[in-house]
């Protein structure tokens, strides 16, 4: 089989594989590939790598159980913690304030850390951020000594 004068250019070959050549060049290279076993082999290798990678990723996606991601993300958003954090971050956007801000914050945090003893953590055992239920009523209680949170709901279903 007569080889065409077109060089087996590996860069061209990759761009051909990715359909990134202009139409004329794509057509020319296509004709070359039909007659060049080495380019055919190289394209086959590219395809094998692509198929293998996609198979690996598909398997991971299948196992990743992404269904709960949506709910998890929406829960986090619903609490608006990031919203508050970002609003505060926005205040520091001007770079000229970053260094003095960092210095002041460090000093304040260190001061508070020193003043604050390692005493008992205030507050109940659980902070309820949201609640949904089918019941007719719900009660929130707290044990007197160790402040363990109790949720009591009336199940109507």
């Amino acid at each position: 089989m007569k080889k065409t004068s077109h060089q087996c250019n590996t860069d061209l070959l990759n761009r051909f594989f990715d359909h990134e050549l202009d139409p004329d060049e794509q057509a020319r290279f296509s004709r070359h590939v039909k007659e060049c076993p080495s380019c055919q082999e190289a394209l086959k290798d590219n395809q094998s790598i692509s198929d293998l990678f996609k198979a690996c990723v598909d398997e991971k996606i299948f196992r990743a159980d992404l269904d709960n991601l949506e709910e998890g993300v929406l829960d986090l958003i619903g609490q608006k913690k990031y919203s508050l954090w970002l609003r505060l971050k926005d205040l520091f956007r001007p770079r000229k304030f970053l260094i003095p801000a960092a210095a002041i914050i460090t000093m304040l945090v260190l001061s508070f850390s020193i003043i604050r003893q390692h005493g008992p953590i205030p507050g109940p055992s659980a902070i309820i951020n949201s609640f949904e239920g089918n019941g007719s009523y719900v009660m929130l209680l707290e044990t007197p000594k160790s402040h363990q949170t109790v949720i009591w709901f009336n199940e109507t279903f």
């Binding site: 860069d11 990759n14 990715d18 094998s48 790598i49 990678f53 990723v57 996606i61 993300v73 990031y82």
Partner: protein, 191 residues
């Protein structure tokens, strides 16, 4: 609600209004693809899930700043890639547990590749995938990112260049070298 009817413009408009249902649509439409990108870059399932959560949170926080010239998917790709690249820098593996996943188990044999459906062939296929992912992890990160964006999303060179803010020629050369390295390391497996 028929989410199929939501075109990108409408979706973005509703996202900017803080519409929860629009956000659900966004997550459902993109979670698989973005997970594929994250996993291809960080090569860890748990980290990829965490990154994905971060990505969607960032979208929620910054959608009001989103300018629609580049397109929503370009923006999402960019956020995902940046989150992946920042991930290790940010956490310095402080909270990362050393999990012995299958990908990192034991010495790897190099049997002949079989295409039968018997357990032995399935095992060999799994080993091949493990080996491939290990090799992928050894690619320089910038080459891996380009390879992943190309293979997971089928982006053009121009699109990848826009996401990563690099030149088209750089995309082409990184992709070329990524494939070269992967081919060389898997030579024994190629027919």
């Amino acid at each position: 609600m028929n989410t199929e009817l939501w075109d990108e413009k409408r979706l973005i408009s509703l996202l900017k209004q803080g519409n929860d249902a629009a956000f659900r649509v966004l997550v459902r439409q993109y979670n698989n693809r973005l997970f594929g990108i994250a996993y291809g870059i960080v090569l860890d399932r748990e980290e990829s899930l965490e990154i994905l959560q971060e990505v969607f949170l960032k979208v929620f926080q910054n959608i009001h700043r989103f300018r629609e010239e580049a397109g929503l998917s370009t923006w999402l790709h960019r956020i995902t890639v940046n989150q992946c690249l920042n991930w290790h820098r940010r956490w310095k593996r402080k909270f990362r547990w050393q999990q012995n996943t299958l990908e990192r188990d034991g010495p790897i044999d190099y049997p002949d590749r079989g295409m039968d459906n018997d357990p032995e062939a399935i095992y060999r296929e799994k080993e091949l995938k493990n080996k491939f992912m290990e090799n992928l992890g050894q690619l320089p990160r910038e080459e891996r990112v380009v390879f992943v964006l190309k293979e997971v999303e089928g982006l053009s060179y121009d699109e990848i260049a826009r996401v990563l803010k690099i030149k088209r020629g750089t995309v082409s050369s990184r992709l070329f070298y990524a494939r070269q390295r992967l081919k060389e390391s898997l030579t024994r497996y190629m027919d």
